[in-house]
Subunit: 388 residues, 2 copies
Amino acid sequence: MRNFDYCNPTRIIFGKGETDRVGKECQKLGKKVLFIYGGGSIKQNGLYDRIMKHLQEEKLVVYELGGVKPNPRIDKVREGVAICKKEKIDLVLAVGGGSVLDTGKIVAAGAIYPGDPWDFFIDEHKIPGKIPLVTVLTLAATGSEMNHNAVITNEETLEKLGTHNPHLYPTLSILDPENTYTVPRDQTVNGIVDMMAHVFEQYFHPFPETPLQDRWAEGLMKTIIEYTPRVLQNPTDYDGRAVIMWCGTMALNHLLEEAGGGGEWTCHPIEHVLSAVYDIPHGAGLAIIFPQWMKYVLDVIPHKFTQFAERVWEIPRANKSDQELGLAGIERTREWFREIGAPTTLREAGIGEEKLTEMARMAVKSGNLGVTKVLDEKDVEEILRMSL
Amino acid sequence: MRNFDYCNPTRIIFGKGETDRVGKECQKLGKKVLFIYGGGSIKQNGLYDRIMKHLQEEKLVVYELGGVKPNPRIDKVREGVAICKKEKIDLVLAVGGGSVLDTGKIVAAGAIYPGDPWDFFIDEHKIPGKIPLVTVLTLAATGSEMNHNAVITNEETLEKLGTHNPHLYPTLSILDPENTYTVPRDQTVNGIVDMMAHVFEQYFHPFPETPLQDRWAEGLMKTIIEYTPRVLQNPTDYDGRAVIMWCGTMALNHLLEEAGGGGEWTCHPIEHVLSAVYDIPHGAGLAIIFPQWMKYVLDVIPHKFTQFAERVWEIPRANKSDQELGLAGIERTREWFREIGAPTTLREAGIGEEKLTEMARMAVKSGNLGVTKVLDEKDVEEILRMSL
């Protein structure tokens, strides 16, 4: 086991009906709230009105920043920061999925930073702290509700970059599974692919002696696989939504990563280029790239792939070689992505070979990727080509 | 899944050599330290000198409270509180196992409480907060390093009582596996039984739809079972000690419990009476009682016991009934306790039937125990009698 330093101070309030605590909890943290949300689905499903009612009951002064898009933009962040500074906002309330939460994190940090918040993506040490951040999650996917990461797109430079800093842990996240009942099927699937990919990034590493982290990662994968059909068949299956929501949170709250192999994090940056250039959903990009990356590194950590095949997919070893057993697990993963309705080739997502070279160059712009097998521009291009 | 409210703010610094950071980390939290430790083993193995050197390098003013015993006493806590109040101590540094850490927690809270710290065990709401608490763990067992529990014995009343409150989470815990190299075999075993018992208390519950919590509990159990022989065969197996240490922390940091069934917590209070009356090690008492409790409640949650037998012990179902398969898992558990050198009957621990009735009465003094099957005085006496 490697040494690590771990502290996750986010408070989680989880469960049915807990959305109604948002007013009282925000009121403990300040008077002036910046309420951030996305494209308006919370106005259609009643969540906006429900939250507004609670904020008003507590006599909070509410400013609004709506219209945050998937693959959220730095321009929208800047708009939020300007409101915070002008109106002396006390706390940020972000209601939505990962895009809204990530926007909320950077706005809350930008509120006390004199420069431009894009600086945080060039150098994470510039993140100075933040004003309190409360989130109400409406999409199980990114784990943003209990982690210190944020990913923002800069449309001018066509960059989609991530940053991380302990200050970015939300103060409080309210996880009410009923708020995910109205998530459409394709977004539910993308969210599930995203959380599964988070586990992959932290599971397939070359470090020895991480038995508990391996078993917990496998527990997450098996639970996600078991409960996915339930939420796809019945979007208002409470326990199905609850289990998937909690899996999404646990899949990326740094517990597996800090105490484990530290994370591979190759497919995520490759996918970030894909969705920055083609604006496809993050989950779709991951489902396409991951199985190809797996094949590409299989021979470096064959024991990990055989363990994955046997423990997660329960594929019997029989007379298979390590290579064959590992490949069978990877194929089963791809098949599962297909079964739940995720794309598994670039062409299915409408992407041809035109920009593969350019995207590979962009993916390694800040340096080569990965730990298990260090990927340079050529490797990334090869993985993208395999993904066609 | 049940609703829950979870926040664990303890910072963990884990790994080889991390003990050397104790001076700098304490210095960030104050000037005057109360250094609490146990029976002197840290003086023999050099840890005391090493820590003192770091504290002095940072020019901290150090007061000492040594001699904390297993099943720690309220008198020792009172002594520590008196030093804190008289000397205006800024922070508590507890170096040892669960007994020392629990003493540290109650001293740190008692330091800012005007009354007697035994009050905290009558009513946990009286815990007002605490001065900062840093711990350096030397025994993998109780999970006290990352939880909000403390157990203290009152010798006058022969009570061993637990309390819990969010204020009792340590500020920082340094987990350096090398500090457990010198733990004797019997204490290593007791610690392992304790962590296994913590998982049992949180796993065998009647609540449905806790698939991730179940798999994480099973992951803990399988990892503990896999790594126990390594630390018993070679006490200085670094990764063995590291994995067992991390399992002990994860076995009781409220993550499984809050998001899971909430915990059964029957065998722990029964054992607390045993060790308050007979002063036997906590782990020994748990190894004796737990398999009998399991048999006593088997018919209430047979599905949980069959899952346990199949997933943890990999016992094939073959033609077994639920009852037979469940019993096989329980028997295997008892056998495992025997294999690693824990007692499995009261008589082995030198306890006869003289005080069974009295102990049963003491165990339910504050009310009946448990959730799966509510245990009254007669039930507890029966379980104790089965344990003879």
